[in-house]
Symmetry: C2
Protein backbone atom coordinates (compact mmCIF):
# COMPACT_ATOMS: atom_id res chain seq x y z
CA UNK A 1 0.00 0.00 0.00
CA UNK A 2 1.46 3.39 -0.95
CA UNK A 3 1.03 6.94 0.21
CA UNK A 4 0.72 8.77 -3.08
CA UNK A 5 3.18 11.69 -3.02
CA UNK A 6 1.25 13.51 -5.80
CA UNK A 7 -1.58 14.14 -3.38
CA UNK A 8 0.58 15.24 -0.48
CA UNK A 9 0.77 19.04 -0.34
CA UNK A 10 2.84 19.24 2.80
CA UNK A 11 3.90 17.31 5.86
CA UNK A 12 0.63 17.94 7.68
CA UNK A 13 -1.42 16.63 4.76
CA UNK A 14 0.81 13.55 4.61
CA UNK A 15 0.19 13.00 8.34
CA UNK A 16 -3.57 13.31 7.81
CA UNK A 17 -3.42 10.86 4.90
CA UNK A 18 -1.68 8.24 7.05
CA UNK A 19 -3.99 8.92 9.99
CA UNK A 20 -6.98 8.26 7.72
CA UNK A 21 -5.55 4.78 7.12
CA UNK A 22 -5.22 4.32 10.89
CA UNK A 23 -8.85 5.49 11.24
CA UNK A 24 -9.93 2.85 8.71
CA UNK A 25 -8.27 0.30 10.98
CA UNK A 26 -10.12 1.77 14.00
CA UNK A 27 -13.38 1.29 12.07
CA UNK A 28 -12.48 -2.38 11.61
CA UNK A 29 -12.01 -2.69 15.38
CA UNK A 30 -15.43 -1.04 15.89
CA UNK A 31 -17.05 -3.55 13.53
CA UNK A 32 -15.51 -6.37 15.59
CA UNK A 33 -16.88 -4.86 18.82
CA UNK A 34 -13.38 -3.89 19.96
CA UNK A 35 -12.36 -0.51 21.42
CA UNK A 36 -11.76 1.35 18.12
CA UNK A 37 -8.08 2.20 17.92
CA UNK A 38 -6.06 1.75 14.73
CA UNK A 39 -2.39 2.08 13.81
CA UNK A 40 -0.23 2.06 10.71
CA UNK A 41 3.54 2.06 10.29
CA UNK A 42 5.09 3.87 7.34
CA UNK A 43 8.63 3.52 5.99
CA UNK A 44 9.55 5.98 3.26
CA UNK A 45 6.30 6.30 1.37
CA UNK A 46 5.21 2.72 2.00
CA UNK A 47 2.75 1.48 4.60
CA UNK A 48 4.41 -1.67 5.97
CA UNK A 49 1.92 -2.47 8.74
CA UNK A 50 -1.74 -1.75 9.53
CA UNK A 51 -3.56 -3.12 12.55
CA UNK A 52 -6.37 -2.52 15.01
CA UNK A 53 -7.03 -3.37 18.61
CA UNK A 54 -7.89 -7.07 18.94
CA UNK A 55 -7.82 -7.62 22.69
CA UNK A 56 -11.21 -9.35 22.86
CA UNK A 57 -10.94 -11.21 19.55
CA UNK A 58 -7.54 -12.71 20.41
CA UNK A 59 -8.18 -12.81 24.20
CA UNK A 60 -4.73 -11.23 24.49
CA UNK A 61 -4.12 -8.23 26.78
CA UNK A 62 -1.09 -7.23 24.70
CA UNK A 63 -3.05 -7.04 21.41
CA UNK A 64 -3.27 -3.26 21.12
CA UNK A 65 -3.19 -1.78 17.61
CA UNK A 66 0.36 -0.45 18.02
CA UNK A 67 1.74 -3.76 19.33
CA UNK A 68 0.34 -5.77 16.44
CA UNK A 69 1.53 -3.17 13.92
CA UNK A 70 5.05 -3.18 15.41
CA UNK A 71 5.30 -6.99 15.29
CA UNK A 72 3.92 -6.92 11.74
CA UNK A 73 6.42 -4.26 10.59
CA UNK A 74 9.36 -6.11 12.17
CA UNK A 75 8.21 -9.31 10.47
CA UNK A 76 7.97 -7.51 7.12
CA UNK A 77 11.48 -6.07 7.48
CA UNK A 78 12.96 -9.19 9.14
CA UNK A 79 14.50 -6.90 11.76
CA UNK A 80 13.30 -5.77 15.19
CA UNK A 81 14.81 -2.32 14.62
CA UNK A 82 12.23 -0.02 13.02
CA UNK A 83 14.69 2.87 12.86
CA UNK A 84 13.38 4.34 9.61
CA UNK A 85 9.69 4.09 10.43
CA UNK A 86 6.92 6.40 11.60
CA UNK A 87 4.03 4.99 13.64
CA UNK A 88 0.59 6.58 13.24
CA UNK A 89 -2.04 5.74 15.85
CA UNK A 90 -5.51 7.17 16.43
CA UNK A 91 -5.12 7.34 20.25
CA UNK A 92 -2.20 8.46 22.39
CA UNK A 93 -0.21 5.30 23.31
CA UNK A 94 -0.49 3.70 26.78
CA UNK A 95 2.65 2.76 28.82
CA UNK A 96 2.89 -0.68 27.14
CA UNK A 97 2.73 0.73 23.61
CA UNK A 98 5.02 3.68 24.37
CA UNK A 99 7.49 1.15 25.78
CA UNK A 100 7.20 -1.00 22.65
CA UNK A 101 7.87 2.05 20.47
CA UNK A 102 11.12 2.57 22.43
CA UNK A 103 12.02 -1.13 22.16
CA UNK A 104 11.51 -0.96 18.38
CA UNK A 105 13.65 2.20 18.09
CA UNK A 106 10.87 3.99 16.16
CA UNK A 107 12.06 7.59 15.80
CA UNK A 108 8.72 9.36 15.23
CA UNK A 109 5.17 8.83 16.48
CA UNK A 110 2.07 10.66 15.23
CA UNK A 111 -1.12 10.26 17.23
CA UNK A 112 -4.70 11.52 16.96
CA UNK A 113 -6.70 11.95 20.18
CA UNK A 114 -5.20 12.48 23.63
CA UNK A 115 -5.83 9.80 26.25
CA UNK A 116 -6.02 11.61 29.60
CA UNK A 117 -6.57 8.29 31.46
CA UNK A 118 -3.56 6.29 30.27
CA UNK A 119 -1.69 8.31 27.63
CA UNK A 120 2.03 8.01 28.21
CA UNK A 121 3.63 10.15 25.55
CA UNK A 122 2.01 13.45 26.59
CA UNK A 123 -0.77 13.10 29.17
CA UNK A 124 0.37 11.07 32.23
CA UNK A 125 3.97 10.38 31.23
CA UNK A 126 6.32 11.56 28.51
CA UNK A 127 8.06 8.20 28.10
CA UNK A 128 9.33 8.90 24.59
CA UNK A 129 11.28 11.96 25.78
CA UNK A 130 13.02 10.33 28.75
CA UNK A 131 16.74 10.59 28.06
CA UNK A 132 17.55 8.09 30.82
CA UNK A 133 16.16 5.34 28.54
CA UNK A 134 18.31 4.11 25.65
CA UNK A 135 16.10 5.60 22.94
CA UNK A 136 13.85 8.62 22.48
CA UNK A 137 11.25 9.43 19.81
CA UNK A 138 9.72 12.65 18.60
CA UNK A 139 5.96 13.03 18.93
CA UNK A 140 3.33 14.84 16.86
CA UNK A 141 -0.09 14.83 18.52
CA UNK A 142 -3.59 15.98 17.56
CA UNK A 143 -3.67 14.86 13.90
CA UNK A 144 -7.37 14.33 13.00
CA UNK A 145 -7.93 14.41 16.78
CA UNK A 146 -11.66 15.08 16.46
CA UNK A 147 -12.39 12.08 14.19
CA UNK A 148 -10.06 9.84 16.22
CA UNK A 149 -11.80 10.84 19.46
CA UNK A 150 -15.32 10.69 18.02
CA UNK A 151 -15.12 7.03 16.98
CA UNK A 152 -14.11 6.19 20.57
CA UNK A 153 -16.88 8.23 22.21
CA UNK A 154 -19.44 6.77 19.77
CA UNK A 155 -18.24 3.27 20.68
CA UNK A 156 -18.45 3.82 24.43
CA UNK A 157 -21.88 5.51 24.08
CA UNK A 158 -23.21 2.50 22.17
CA UNK A 159 -21.66 0.11 24.72
CA UNK A 160 -23.33 2.01 27.56
CA UNK A 161 -26.67 1.79 25.72
CA UNK A 162 -26.21 -1.98 25.54
CA UNK A 163 -25.22 -1.98 29.24
CA UNK A 164 -21.82 -3.47 28.35
CA UNK A 165 -19.33 -0.94 29.70
Amino acid sequence: MFVDPEHVDDEQESYRQCMRLALTEAERAMEADEVPVGAVIVRGNQVIAAAHNQRETLADPTAHAEMIAITQAASTLGDWRLTECTLFVTLEPCPMCAGAILQARIPHVVFGALDPKAGSVTSLYQLLEDRRLNHTASVTGGVLAEECGRILSDFFASQRKLGKK
Copy 2:
Protein backbone atom coordinates in the same frame (compact mmCIF):
# COMPACT_ATOMS: atom_id res chain seq x y z
CA MET B 1 3.94 -28.02 35.83
CA PHE B 2 3.29 -27.74 39.57
CA VAL B 3 4.88 -25.96 42.48
CA ASP B 4 5.08 -28.74 45.06
CA PRO B 5 3.55 -27.41 48.30
CA GLU B 6 5.38 -30.06 50.38
CA HIS B 7 8.66 -28.34 49.66
CA VAL B 8 7.46 -24.82 50.29
CA ASP B 9 8.26 -23.74 53.84
CA ASP B 10 7.00 -20.21 53.56
CA GLU B 11 6.08 -17.50 51.08
CA GLN B 12 9.70 -16.53 50.48
CA GLU B 13 10.69 -20.12 49.66
CA SER B 14 7.74 -20.38 47.29
CA TYR B 15 8.92 -17.19 45.57
CA ARG B 16 12.43 -18.61 45.23
CA GLN B 17 11.05 -21.84 43.83
CA CYS B 18 9.15 -19.98 41.09
CA MET B 19 12.10 -17.68 40.43
CA ARG B 20 14.29 -20.75 39.84
CA LEU B 21 11.88 -21.73 37.05
CA ALA B 22 12.21 -18.22 35.60
CA LEU B 23 16.01 -18.58 35.84
CA THR B 24 15.81 -21.85 33.89
CA GLU B 25 14.01 -19.87 31.19
CA ALA B 26 16.76 -17.21 31.32
CA GLU B 27 19.32 -19.99 30.75
CA ARG B 28 17.39 -21.04 27.65
CA ALA B 29 17.63 -17.45 26.37
CA MET B 30 21.39 -17.50 27.05
CA GLU B 31 21.78 -20.74 25.06
CA ALA B 32 19.98 -19.06 22.15
CA ASP B 33 22.33 -16.04 22.33
CA GLU B 34 19.53 -13.82 23.64
CA VAL B 35 19.76 -11.39 26.59
CA PRO B 36 19.03 -13.91 29.39
CA VAL B 37 15.75 -12.91 30.99
CA GLY B 38 13.08 -15.45 31.91
CA ALA B 39 9.53 -15.26 33.23
CA VAL B 40 6.85 -17.60 34.54
CA ILE B 41 3.22 -16.98 35.44
CA VAL B 42 1.66 -18.91 38.30
CA ARG B 43 -2.05 -19.33 39.10
CA GLY B 44 -2.81 -21.06 42.37
CA ASN B 45 -0.02 -23.63 42.54
CA GLN B 46 0.15 -24.14 38.80
CA VAL B 47 2.66 -22.66 36.38
CA ILE B 48 0.53 -21.65 33.39
CA ALA B 49 3.22 -19.90 31.32
CA ALA B 50 7.01 -19.97 31.03
CA ALA B 51 8.97 -17.94 28.49
CA HIS B 52 12.27 -16.27 27.77
CA ASN B 53 13.41 -13.27 25.81
CA GLN B 54 13.30 -14.04 22.07
CA ARG B 55 13.84 -10.65 20.49
CA GLU B 56 16.60 -11.79 18.14
CA THR B 57 15.20 -15.25 17.39
CA LEU B 58 11.76 -13.88 16.45
CA ALA B 59 13.09 -10.53 15.12
CA ASP B 60 10.33 -8.98 17.21
CA PRO B 61 11.04 -5.98 19.48
CA THR B 62 8.02 -6.88 21.65
CA ALA B 63 9.24 -10.43 22.36
CA HIS B 64 10.42 -9.89 25.94
CA ALA B 65 10.01 -12.83 28.36
CA GLU B 66 7.11 -11.18 30.22
CA MET B 67 5.19 -10.34 27.01
CA ILE B 68 5.40 -13.89 25.68
CA ALA B 69 4.45 -15.33 29.08
CA ILE B 70 1.43 -12.99 29.36
CA THR B 71 0.15 -13.91 25.88
CA GLN B 72 0.74 -17.60 26.69
CA ALA B 73 -1.12 -17.40 30.03
CA ALA B 74 -4.07 -15.55 28.43
CA SER B 75 -4.18 -18.17 25.70
CA THR B 76 -4.16 -20.99 28.30
CA LEU B 77 -7.01 -19.36 30.25
CA GLY B 78 -8.90 -18.13 27.17
CA ASP B 79 -9.21 -14.74 28.87
CA TRP B 80 -7.07 -11.59 28.67
CA ARG B 81 -7.69 -10.92 32.38
CA LEU B 82 -4.96 -12.58 34.47
CA THR B 83 -6.53 -11.41 37.73
CA GLU B 84 -5.56 -14.46 39.78
CA CYS B 85 -1.99 -14.75 38.55
CA THR B 86 1.48 -13.84 39.81
CA LEU B 87 4.22 -13.04 37.33
CA PHE B 88 7.82 -13.95 38.21
CA VAL B 89 10.59 -12.41 36.13
CA THR B 90 14.36 -12.47 36.58
CA LEU B 91 14.81 -8.76 35.72
CA GLU B 92 12.79 -5.71 36.74
CA PRO B 93 10.26 -5.04 33.94
CA CYS B 94 10.80 -2.25 31.37
CA PRO B 95 8.01 0.28 30.55
CA MET B 96 6.53 -2.02 27.87
CA CYS B 97 6.33 -5.04 30.16
CA ALA B 98 5.11 -3.03 33.17
CA GLY B 99 2.39 -1.63 30.91
CA ALA B 100 1.46 -5.13 29.73
CA ILE B 101 1.20 -6.30 33.37
CA LEU B 102 -1.32 -3.48 33.93
CA GLN B 103 -3.21 -4.35 30.74
CA ALA B 104 -3.45 -7.98 31.89
CA ARG B 105 -4.67 -6.95 35.37
CA ILE B 106 -1.97 -9.08 37.02
CA PRO B 107 -2.20 -8.26 40.75
CA HIS B 108 1.30 -9.28 41.89
CA VAL B 109 4.74 -9.19 40.32
CA VAL B 110 7.91 -10.75 41.75
CA PHE B 111 11.22 -9.84 40.16
CA GLY B 112 14.87 -10.74 40.67
CA ALA B 113 17.52 -8.17 39.74
CA LEU B 114 16.95 -4.43 39.55
CA ASP B 115 17.35 -2.75 36.16
CA PRO B 116 18.69 0.74 36.86
CA LYS B 117 18.71 1.56 33.11
CA ALA B 118 15.08 0.80 32.18
CA GLY B 119 13.33 -0.69 35.21
CA SER B 120 9.86 0.76 35.51
CA VAL B 121 8.39 -0.80 38.61
CA THR B 122 11.01 0.51 41.07
CA SER B 123 14.08 2.09 39.44
CA LEU B 124 13.06 4.77 36.89
CA TYR B 125 9.28 4.64 37.26
CA GLN B 126 6.82 3.00 39.63
CA LEU B 127 4.22 2.31 36.94
CA LEU B 128 2.49 -0.48 38.88
CA GLU B 129 1.70 1.85 41.79
CA ASP B 130 0.24 4.72 39.74
CA ARG B 131 -3.35 5.13 40.96
CA ARG B 132 -4.23 7.35 37.98
CA LEU B 133 -4.10 4.22 35.80
CA ASN B 134 -7.03 1.80 35.92
CA HIS B 135 -5.11 -0.98 37.64
CA THR B 136 -2.26 -1.31 40.14
CA ALA B 137 -0.14 -4.31 41.15
CA SER B 138 1.92 -5.11 44.21
CA VAL B 139 5.63 -5.70 43.69
CA THR B 140 8.18 -7.93 45.45
CA GLY B 141 11.74 -7.30 44.26
CA GLY B 142 15.15 -8.85 44.91
CA VAL B 143 14.17 -12.57 44.90
CA LEU B 144 17.34 -14.50 43.91
CA ALA B 145 18.65 -11.12 42.80
CA GLU B 146 22.29 -12.25 42.75
CA GLU B 147 21.70 -15.27 40.46
CA CYS B 148 19.33 -13.26 38.24
CA GLY B 149 21.88 -10.45 37.88
CA ARG B 150 24.87 -12.77 37.45
CA ILE B 151 23.49 -14.53 34.37
CA LEU B 152 23.05 -11.10 32.76
CA SER B 153 26.53 -9.84 33.62
CA ASP B 154 28.05 -13.14 32.44
CA PHE B 155 26.17 -12.78 29.14
CA PHE B 156 27.28 -9.21 28.54
CA ALA B 157 30.88 -10.05 29.52
CA SER B 158 30.94 -12.90 26.98
CA GLN B 159 29.36 -10.65 24.33
CA ARG B 160 32.03 -8.00 24.93
CA LYS B 161 34.75 -10.66 24.57
CA LEU B 162 33.26 -11.57 21.22
CA GLY B 163 33.06 -7.86 20.36
CA LYS B 164 29.30 -8.11 19.90
CA LYS B 165 27.88 -5.61 22.41
